[in-house]
């Protein structure tokens, strides 16, 4: 049995990383929730965010002074418009024209085509980055990642856990971004139109909402959020162009767990996955921590065969 100390250490690590997993899950859930398309290129958007941070942090540090925590958060913020632009272009250039090609093929077929096109985007992007940046494993070195705050465990004699500063920064930033999105979706006019589009696209059209534009915004926003999450993860996770694959299942599992359509549910789903992943190392070898997530994923699907996707019974 693991001691209380190691258990709490894993739990805290899980919560720390869970916040940023939650953020990337929001990115996926936003795209799915509003467009009903599962975005396969999600891992690559994350990877692009990581590379963006790699180049952005030194650039920001060269023009201003401040603590490395501030630099990291600024870099993450700066990633957002870059990836928003990329998402916007991908939607306008590929996903939107596809809808026209499949206009008469029915919804299911058109969604399948979009799904497959995001697979193409995913493979093209990861390999394009291979061409651009090479296969070297990169990591972002800041003083944050090598320092930790010790925390005493209450009600124990000398129990102590360590809080890695990079993780703490990503936790706080992840939670802040998620809260900001929660506000955007639930308390702004844009959020309301997005939700209307998700609920019933046809009815939204009758209310003079431009569905295409809403889809484009949703896709771009989802891309940007995922990029920001990538920039934050990069502070503590070494990466290369194929790193996205390490995270796609985490994102899918988190989103399924949170309820496929729910955007804030996805955040909590991601949080739970972070905790499961970190705690799995207590009983499993570290190489298998992602296998633990696959097991959770498949088990979830088994226990709830209809998934957590809402409509389960089909009317004949």
């Amino acid at each position: 049995m693991p001691s209380l100390e190691t258990f709490l250490q894993s739990l805290v690590s899980g919560i720390m990383i869970g916040s940023v997993y939650g953020l990337m899950c929001i990115g996926l859930a936003l795209i799915f929730g509003i467009m009903r398309v599962i975005n396969f290129a999600q891992g690559e958007f994350l990877m692009l965010g990581m590379y963006a941070a790699l180049f952005m942090i030194p650039a920001i540090a060269s023009v201003m002074v401040g603590g490395s925590a501030l630099m990291a958060i600024l870099a993450a913020l700066a990633t957002a418009p870059l990836l928003y632009g990329l998402g916007y272009l991908l939607h306008a250039g590929m996903l939107r024209p596809l809808a026209r090609v499949h206009a008469y093929a029915g919804e299911a077929k058109s969604q399948q085509a979009q799904f497959i096109i995001t697979l193409g985007i995913s493979i093209a992007l990861q390999n394009a980055c291979m061409v651009l940046f090479g296969s070297d494993v990169r990591s972002i070195r800041t003083p944050l990642s090598s320092t930790a705050w010790p925390l005493a465990i209450p009600f124990t004699e000398d129990g102590i856990i360590f809080l890695n500063q990079a993780r703490a920064v990503t936790f706080v930033a992840g939670a802040l971004f998620a809260a900001a999105l929660h506000y955007l979706i639930n308390a702004t006019w844009l959020g309301k139109t997005l939700r209307a589009t998700a609920d019933n696209p046809l009815a939204a059209t009758y209310m003079a909402i431009d569905i295409d534009r809403m889809h484009r915004i949703a896709f771009a926003l989802g891309t940007a959020i995922t990029g920001v999450a990538g920039a934050l993860v990069a502070l503590q996770y070494p990466f290369q162009p194929y790193v996205g694959l390490d995270f796609v299942i985490i994102m899918y599992t988190g989103v399924v767990l949170g309820g496929m359509g729910s955007i804030m549910g996805a955040f909590w789903g991601g949080m739970v996955i972070g905790i499961i992943q970190q705690c799995s190392t207590l009983i499993l070898p570290i190489q298998l921590q992602n296998v633990a997530i696959f097991v959770v994923f498949i088990a979830l699907l088994l226990i709830r065969p209809q998934g957590f996707f809402g409509r389960s019974a089909e009317r004949a």
Partner: protein, 585 residues
């Protein structure tokens, strides 16, 4: 097989021979390697096509089978010196077993969710093999007995084996396409519930498809390692392997065995040559090309090269030819029915969805060789009742007894096989099939052989007067024809009881007369009918007895003229205010 296959089988063999003849012209060993990799990737794509093309289940996980096959062959040779001559056939068994193990939980999902779940398997295996310490495994050279270990001095040896296996997979695909297997898969792709109602055990057909698919993919992996000699978990279990299966198929054309082969013959050489010539300066260029290829084809020619070219050349598939003369056969089951005892006894059926009680304690009998009409306002529970009767929905309580057997809890295809056919409120024909093929799906689930199935098809089409439309695509029919087609498909299963769910909905007055005439002839053919219908006028012309359902309860049953005068029925239909006003006036 319900269609001629010999011509295509000959074409496949000729294609293989031509391919091998072409390799004789190649002397460069690098080009020979590419010529060997093409059929291997074609094998993997053919395997994907069975699931993704014929059955419409897109998988992102075929690397699981491919990698298992590769590792099995490599580990057996590496650790125990067992020759690939034995282990490659063994991988076929391994792939089939893996297919069943993976399929069992994963087929509970559909669409995107199936595709995503499939992604998890190869990735989990990738981590597991890395953790087991198989970062890299190689096949040792067997200089003492190279041939016994499938090691050839002339690389054409590998090529012959790869082409032979590819031809095998193409022939397997051909057999599937032209047989009951393919009909089941096409039906599942277009409408799973209609396939179940037509009598196909869809769960079993899905598992069979997955087993065959896994078998072919594992063999492809087993042969791959013999040629490549060294593999790593990412090289066989990686996403790019699964993606390649999908991309080659969709690029070449899904749903036909030529598609995967065309895809492999165009993309594999392009990718390999790019990698060799530009890989030094632009590592990953092959992935960029593969990714962009699928994006481009999805946008420009969504069906893939094969279907695009056929469309361009104006080639149409030959419609199914039905035999001109068939033995006369009753459309019904021909089982003598005791005319007094009810064919269906429904006792105490209740079903709630959340807080909504769709059915409450429904009790009634259906007398044989008659037409029972079920009427009731919207939401009265009519369709739910049919869903319970044909096994789509399990009731919360109560029993349904059909011809003396309790059928509650049985699966739809079993109930269909016992002789209960049904049609749907929103018609569910298979839109990409012809009229004759639609009816054949209903016929073949119960027929012993293809000739009997074709004979049933001809008779059912004649019964509903659709013989002339046999070659038309079901997606292009008029409303009346669609309704008749659904009846014909159900009749082809030779039912004793037919459940018709709003068969007259949306028809013009003339069409209604037409369809009613067909329905009226059914009891004479030994078929009992239960019909749901909204319009009282049509119902009075059709039904022998009426049953009124309201809020999930059986309000009354009886002869049509009595029922329509029943005050409780009038109230349910027209409301108590109407009753009150007319009572005064």
């Amino acid at each position: 097989m319900f269609r001629d296959w010999k011509r295509d089988a000959l074409l496949i063999v000729l294609f293989g021979l031509a391919y091998l003849a072409a390799t004789l012209l190649i002397s460069d060993s690098y080009y020979l390697l590419i010529a060997t990799l093409i059929p291997i990737w074609a094998l993997l794509a053919l395997s994907w096509n069975i699931l993704g093309g014929y059955m419409g289940f897109v998988s992102f996980g075929h690397a699981a089978f491919f990698g298992l096959g590769a590792y099995a062959v490599a580990m057996a040779e590496h650790h125990f010196g067992i020759s690939p001559w034995f282990t490659i056939p063994g991988t076929a068994v391994l792939g089939a077993v893996a297919g069943v193990l993976i399929g069992y939980p994963t087929f509970r999902l559909q669409g995107h969710y199936f595709a995503l779940a499939m992604l998890a398997y190869p990735l989990a295996l990738l981590y597991i093999f890395e953790w087991m310490g198989y970062q890299e495994i190689s096949i040792p050279m067997r200089r003492e007995a190279p041939l016994a270990h499938m090691q050839f001095s002339d690389p054409r040896g590998y090529c012959v084996i790869a082409v032979a296996l590819m031809l095998g997979a193409m022939l397997v695909s051909l057999v599937i396409e032209r047989s009951r297997f393919g009909l089941a898969l096409f039906a599942i792709r277009q409408d799973v519930r209609a396939a179940e109602a037509a009598g196909f055990d869809t769960r079993r057909w899905k598992m069979r498809a997955m087993a065959v698919s896994g078998m072919i993919a594992a063999v492809a992996g087993g042969l791959y390692v013999v040629i490549i000699l060294v593999i790593t978990p990412p090289s066989v279990f990686g996403l790019i392997t699964s993606a390649q299966a999908l991309i080659l198929t969709l690029f070449g054309g899904a749903g036909t065995f030529w598609g995967p082969v065309i895809g492999a013959m165009t993309l594999v050489p392009a990718v390999e040559l790019l990698h060799t010539h530009l890989g030094e300066i632009l590592p990953g260029i092959q992935g960029v090309v593969l990714g962009l290829a699928i994006v481009a084809i999805t946008l420009a020619a969504p069906g893939g090269i094969y279907w695009w070219a056929r469309g361009r050349l104006g080639i149409r598939s030959t419609p199914l030819t039905l035999p001109a003369a068939v033995p006369a056969m009753p459309v019904g089951s021909g089982v003598a029915t005791d005319s007094a005892a009810p064919i269906l006894r429904v006792r105490g059926i209740s079903k709630a969805f959340g807080g909504v009680h769709a059915l409450r304690d429904a009790d009634f009998d259906v007398l044989p060789n008659s037409i029972l009409g079920i009427i009731g306002p919207n939401g009265a529970g009519k369709t739910t009742l049919f869903d319970v009767l044909n096994g789509f929905t399990k009731p919360d309580s109560g029993t349904v007894e059909y011809a003396g057997t309790v059928i509650t809890g049985l699966r739809t295809n079993r109930i269909a096989a016992m002789g209960i056919g049904r049609t749907f409120q929103v018609a569910r024909v298979f839109p990409e099939m012809t009229v004759a093929e639609n009816v054949l799906t209903g016929a073949w689930s119960g027929a012993t052989d293809v000739n009997e199935a074709l004979a049933r098809t001809v008779n059912a089409l004649a019964f509903v007067n659709l013989t002339e439309r046999a070659g038309a695509e079901a997606g292009a029919l008029t409303n009346r024809e669609v309704r008749l087609l659904e009846i014909a498909r159900a009749l082809a299963g030779r039912p004793r009881l037919l459940l018709l769910d709003e068969t007259l909905a949306g028809l013009s007055r003339d069409d209604v007369t037409d369809v009613i005439a067909v329905v009226r002839r059914l009891p004479g053919a030994g078929i009992t009918v239960v019909l749901i219908e909204h319009t009282m006028h049509a119902m009075l012309q059709t039904a022998d007895r009426l049953l009124v359902l309201d809020h999930g309860k059986v309000l009354t049953t009886g002869l049509p003229n009595e029922v329509v005068k029943d005050p409780a029925v009038i109230e349910a239909y027209l409301g108590h205010k109407w009753m009150a006003r007319h009572a005064e006036g």
